[in-house]
């Protein structure tokens, strides 16, 4: 019986959105190129440059690289395409476990799992890479598009991520990171910086995602993140319904979120254009609002609160007019009327009560807003939205600005 149900489920899933499109087995030429490219990856030496010729190259297995100092280079992110539609093995499109790695000017399409995963390594450059699930936003898409994790000295620039069922560009547990001039759309999270120390995220466009740009800290990981600057980005109309599997970290992000800070300290948001995100243009929340906090599953030393958040000189417009979820909808209507809208900034209201001094966090741990007449709504999450407040007084403060992130020059 279980097998029957499963079989039915698989058929249903396979049918989702892709119509009756049949995935053909690789041709002899395609198999030969798959083998050739994997051999190039096996035989690479430090300094090797592996060129991917223009054309759409199909693969039914994931590619893997484990040699330091390699460059993989295509003829352009619309010209050299590695397509994993019909992949039967290997969860990632490409998996890299190596340092001094550059990948540029190519596309990775329709991998079963993550598109490009780089697990552990330093001096990583990802430039002009497009990772895309070509069927648009679907739960059956792979989780992460461009996915460096446990890396150091990372540059992601001029790249595109489309359709990830978790995060389009996801930097996790890393240190010293620049994410700039990228485009992320139709993902659950457009760009996500998680448990990462020293990241600059600028001049990116995040649109049509569920949430545009996220700065998160999750529990139980190798390092808590801090010190992220998000500036000069466009986070516009991120209103796609959340299509993540429940249980995934981003499944709790309401559709219509421009920029979200969750449980992460020392975050600076400035000089961005943030517009038309229907829940709120900017959300500041704690781990308590994710619904994942529980007695046994979270490390005791995990700090679930956002602390030392500085928001200034952003250009906000529109948004907050049609929040996701019944609780927020009801709250919006009750406070601002059917045609009204939330202020630009939404805060869940959870504070680390152990640290309060005269009712406020210590100066360096406050949420500070210097953004013209932009307002904030404290939804009073700890009391189930009982006493929401738009009082700006607790947020009128300044924080010391974070230094810019600089990557070491290439040798």
């Amino acid at each position: 019986m279980r097998k029957l149900v499963l079989a039915a489920l698989v058929v249903t899933l396979a049918g989702c959105g892709r119509g009756a499109e049949e995935i053909k087995a690789l041709t002899a030429d395609e198999s030969a190129y798959q083998k050739h490219l994997q051999e190039q990856l096996l035989d690479a030496k430090p300094g090797s440059v592996i060129e991917i010729p223009a054309g759409k190259h199909r693969f039914d297995r994931g590619l893997t690289l484990r040699v330091n100092g390699v460059t993989i280079r295509g003829a352009g992110q619309d010209k050299s395409i590695l397509s994993f539609k019909g992949q039967v093995a290997g969860p990632e499109g490409m998996l890299v476990n190596a340092s001094d790695f550059t990948i540029e000017n190519l596309a990775i399409e329709d991998s079963k799992g993550d598109g490009l995963k780089i697990n552990d390594g330093e001096n990583i450059t990802i430039r002009g890479v497009r990772v895309e699930w070509t069927g648009g936003s679907q739960t059956t898409n792979g989780a992460y598009g461009i996915y460096p994790v446990k890396t150091r000295n990372v540059l992601i620039e001029d790249s595109i991520a489309i359709g990830a069922s978790d995060a389009g560009i996801y930097v996790g547990q890393s240190n010293t990171v620049i994410v700039r001039r990228n485009r992320a759309e139709l993902n659950v999270a457009g760009i996500e910086i998680e448990n990462t120390i020293n990241a600059d995220v600028y001049e990116n466009t995040a649109t049509k995602n569920t949430g545009g740009i996220l700065v998160f800290n999750m529990p139980n990981l190798s390092q808590p993140g801090h010190s992220t600057r998000v500036y000069k980005n466009h986070a516009v109309a991120n209103n796609t319904g959340n299509f993540a599997a429940k249980g995934a970290a981003v499944a709790s992000v309401p559709a219509g979120s421009g920029i979200v800070i969750n449980s992460n300290p020392l975050v600076e948001i400035f000089d961005n254009d943030i517009a038309d995100n229907k829940t709120a243009n900017l959300i500041i929340s704690s781990y308590f609002s994710t619904g994942y906090m529980n007695k046994y599953g979270v490390a005791e030393n995990y700090d679930p609160y956002p602390k030392g958040i500085f928001i200034y000189d952003n250009r906000f417009s529109g948004g907050g007019d049609s929040p996701d979820g019944l609780d927020l909808k009801t709250l919006k209507t009750a406070m601002f009327g059917i045609t009204g809208h939330f202020p630009n900034i939404l805060w869940d209201g959870y504070v680390d009560t152990k640290t309060l001094v005269n009712g406020l966090p210590p100066a360096e741990q406050r949420i500070c807003i210097r953004n013209g007449d932009t307002g904030i709504l404290n939804v009073d999450g700890p009391n189930k939205y009982d006493k929401p407040s738009t009082d700006m007084a607790p947020f009128q403060c300044e924080l010391t600005k974070l230094p810019a992130v600089t990557l070491p020059a290439k040798a």
Partner: protein, 396 residues
């Protein structure tokens, strides 16, 4: 010591023009009047054929082991699409591995470990290159000192060789005639069908990993991608009896007696993992042994899955590190809409069995090494989770 190795020598004859003839071994060659070639350690390079190593040979309807090649089993093995496995170890004369209570033994340069993946043929069915039996029954596999090639279908042999520069992994795929296996550095895929005793069939794609994917499991230290190591030859996996040609004996005692292992403490001090398939053993011990061998090589403090905060090796305490009420980090849709890895008492709400119950590349765990669902393994983990007490007390 070398004399004892000689006594143990399996009968091994190879049709080759090689000049080395060991008179002592010739006596054993009753069928083919060919000279004997000893196991050949290739200190570098990637020999094109499995036979170049002279560890095993398909001869006279049997896959035979060369002299001094010792077969072994694990208390609880890794699941690989119901494949049966013939594991062997060989070392040059005069050197031995150093015992370690927890880690893979420290093997000397020259060590050659092989693992041959094969299936018994479905009962009463003719060989058709795709039908293989879904069976734990090994009784038909062996003929004398080797595998019975009339009863089994060989798929691949993976060679792990300890060189000066460290371990190298070389995958070989058996040819259709089952006479030799050829190097397949970029791996292979084969369309096979598992045939159950009642005749039901399950088509699947058997995947031979490429060299890098070998390291996906055997590269246990992410800081040193070039460092790989065998997984099975650890004290807790090997501490069991094996039915050798010359009688039943504890494997560690046997390896010590042959001169392959030094430093073995007294038996009571040697750890032993449970046999996952032995229903008379404790369910927790069986589940932990199963997770240890199937998951622990990635899910440990230094392994590729240390990005997840989930450790499943035998040493992990039974708390959030093992998944108790632990939210996932990067599982994507591998969560199956579940919030935590293990909800005590509730396997249906737990991510672990959900991922075991999938064969989709983006959902299943382990993420490589299988294309089918290990039903019996999943049921064991479900039973283990069902026996956990308590709840996750979600506080919001």
């Amino acid at each position: 010591m070398s004399e004892e190795k000689m006594q143990h020598a399996a009968r091994f004859c190879v049709n080759t023009a090689a000049a080395f003839v060991l008179a002592a071994a010739l006596v054993a060659c009753s069928q083919a009047p060919a000279p004997v070639v000893p196991v050949t350690f290739h200190a570098s390079g990637s020999p094109a054929h499995l036979s170049d190593w002279h560890v095993t040979a398909a001869l006279d309807g049997k896959l035979q082991l060369n002299a001094d090649v010792v077969p072994y089993d694990l208390n609880t093995p890794l699941f690989s699409d119901y494949a049966h496995k013939l594991r062997t170890i060989w070392m040059p004369k005069g050197v031995a591995a150093k015992y370690d209570a927890a880690q893979t033994f420290d093997f000397p340069v020259g060590t050659i470990i092989t693992k041959t993946f094969y299936y018994p043929l479905p009962k009463g069915a003719a060989r058709d290159a795709k039908s293989v039996a879904r069976s734990y029954d090994q009784s038909r596999d062996f003929a004398g000192s080797g595998l019975d090639l009339t009863q089994v279908h060989l798929i691949e042999t993976r060679v792990l060789v300890r060189r000066e520069s460290g371990w190298a992994a070389l995958p070989y795929v058996w040819n259709a005639d089952q006479t030799d296996a050829e190097l397949a550095r970029t791996g292979d895929t084969q369309a096979l069908e598992l045939v159950a005793d009642d005749g039901t069939r399950e088509p699947f794609t058997y995947v031979v990993p490429n060299e890098n994917q070998c390291a996906g499991c055997h590269g246990t230290d992410m800081k040193n991608p070039s460092l790989i190591a065998p997984i099975g030859p650890k004290a807790r996996h090997l501490n069991r009896d094996y039915a050798y040609a010359d009688g039943r004996e504890n494997q560690l005692a046997h390896l010590t007696r042959l001169g392959y292992l030094m430093g073995l403490p007294e038996a009571s001090a040697v750890p032993r993992n449970a046999d996952w398939h032995d229903a008379t053993q404790d369910v927790t011990a069986r589940a932990r042994a199963y997770l240890d061998i199937n998951c622990g090589h990635c899910h440990n403090a230094n392994g590729p899955a240390n990005t997840t905060g989930l450790s499943l090796d035998i040493f992990t305490a039974p708390d959030r590190h093992l998944g108790l009420c632990k939210p996932p980090v990067a599982a994507g849709r591998g969560t199956g809409d579940h919030k935590v890895d293990i909800v005590p008492g509730k396997p249906d709400d737990s991510i672990l069995p959900y991922r075991m119950n999938s064969s989709e590349p983006a959902v299943m765990m382990p993420e490589q090494g299988r294309s089918t669902i290990h039903r019996e393994g999943m049921e064991l983990i479900r039973a283990w989770i069902a026996a956990w007490q308590g709840n996750c007390d979600v506080a919001s």
